[in-house]
Amino acid sequence: MPQIIIEHLTKTYRISERDPGFAGTLRGLFRRRYRRVEALRGVSFSLERGELLGLIGPNGAGKSTTIKILSGILRPDSGLVTVDGLVPFEDRRKHVARIGVVFGQRTQLWWDLPVSDGFALLRDIYGVPEQRYRRTLEELVTLLRLEPLLDQPVRQLSLGQRMRAEIVAALLHEPAVLFLDEPTIGLDAPSKLAVREFVLRLNRERGVTVILTTHDMQDIEALAERVIVIGHGRVLADGTFDLLREAVRETHLEVPSIEAVIARFYALHGAAET
């Protein structure tokens, strides 16, 4: 029984539009016009426990919509979603207690408080028993080398340090599923490596299911056994990265670079950046 099941997910956004110029402003007061954006037109896939999935695709193609639905903060128009038997947006509190989410460049920690204070608050929010919290915290802090930073206010950390603290924060309650949304964006090379190495170990040694969205193809190469390409609101490809590469190779002699593979793949399926 797969851990995560998605079937025929659809989602359409209504964006209100207004004509430019003064006349448009006036008209806008009387009549509203809407543009329909079909973000998801029937996305289906499933994940077993412990898989590490890379989700790629152009912006506006449905990637972040899928993540939002999976995490429970957005309702789909139709389709089926279950994570460990729970429907994310229906059983919100039970569901979010079992997942961790990391947004690149944004922190969930308290800006003016020391890092350790923020961790303690999260312990209280997630209701983690003290003993387990101490153990988990010690492990994570050691693995991500955060000891010297624990007493510093979050606002004083560099982006790389903040991202490491962010990952600890997301894992304090030992979630079964970890969502990483552009986790390495803006990081320097050593930090990127540290993050990738950690996520790999987390997945291989702890069996935490990981879903990673990224534009950084080296993230994909380092981490993702399985890749799903979402474009035009649909799943365009679902398989290993090598399969993907094979699909876009033009001659049997060439070994295209990662970027070239992706670019060609998008072009093949008309999934251009919007």
Binding site: G72, L74, R92, R93, V96, R106, W110, L121
Partner: protein, 269 residues
């Protein structure tokens, strides 16, 4: 195993206070500002009484009691509702609201614990000071009954103002302009309720009793506490019942709130 919401709230509030004490001069200055900024109008009232004597049967001390009560109510509600107040400007815009949805706690609890402003203590202190000075001036005796009614009225007032701020937060799911409109209701409401209702014209009295029932929490109970016969002729049984209106509005506000959250999670940001 899991910490209940009631025990979590003090921790969230504590964290918020600790963050504010990182900027001590700012916090102190804002608190002092809240004390004086909200208290100066009573000086105008005093000056008017000094020149004109009593107004429609009310003396200065009595008006001071009305004044103090409403500021106490609003200060408490204001301190609790910051999260709803900045929902549109801070939380929705930055995506921080999504983060609140990702935590296994009710939104209301998290919003109450979000930025519990120390400076509101300034308005609270001012309200209490004016209230007690007024009470002294009229020789008000605090019996068990009047204290109970006072606390009940304050609870109703806090509920009413909190409800208005919840509604403001709800509106911000649809538009950022909600802040301005709501200010008319909240700050305008405080301004109006500072004075006994009988000073106003019919239409305003009607609005303040039936549309935004400030009169039910800030006028009728206080008239009873002061032992002043009500010029509007309300029956004696009404005063202890009236503060319920605040809780009724609160209930309605949360119905609207749930609708607003549903709208947000259905349409995305």
């Amino acid at each position: 195993m899991s910490m209940s919401g009631v025990r979590l709230l003090p921790k969230l509030i504590g964290a918020s206070l600790r963050a504010q004490t990182q900027y001590p001069t700012s916090a102190i200055a804002r608190t002092i500002g809240q004390f004086f900024g909200n208290g100066i109008e009573i000086l105008a009232v005093w000056a008017l009484f000094d020149r004109f004597g009593a107004v429609r049967g009310w003396e200065f001390g009595e008006v001071a009691v009305f004044y103090g009560f409403v500021h106490v109510m609003f200060a408490i509600a204001d301190a609790l509702s910051r999260g709803f107040d900045v929902l549109g400007t801070d939380l929705l815009r930055t995506g921080e609201f999504d983060r609140l949805l990702l935590r296994p706690r009710t939104l209301t609890l998290q919003l109450i614990g979000h930025e519990f402003r120390i400076s509101r203590a300034g308005r609270l202190a001012q309200g209490l000071a004016v209230l007690f000075i007024g009470a002294q001036l009229v020789g008000l005796e605090w019996t068990a009954a009047t204290i109970a009614l006072a606390l009940w009225a304050i609870a109703g007032g806090v509920a009413l103002f909190f409800a208005l701020l919840v509604l403001q937060g709800t509106l911000s799911f649809w538009t950022i302009q909600s802040l301005e409109v709501a200010n008319v209701l909240t700050y305008g409401g405080v301004q109006a309720a500072q004075f006994p209702l009988s000073l106003y014209n019919d239409w305003l009295r009607g609005v303040l009793t039936f549309v935004i029932p400030l009169a039910c929490v800030a006028y009728f109970p206080v008239v009873s506490i002061l032992g002043h016969p009500d010029p509007l002729g309300s029956p004696a049984w009404f005063a202890p019942v009236a503060p319920v209106a605040g809780f009724v509005v609160l209930g309605l506000a949360f119905v609207a709130w749930r609708f607003g959250v549903r709208h947000y999670t259905s349409t995305g940001s």
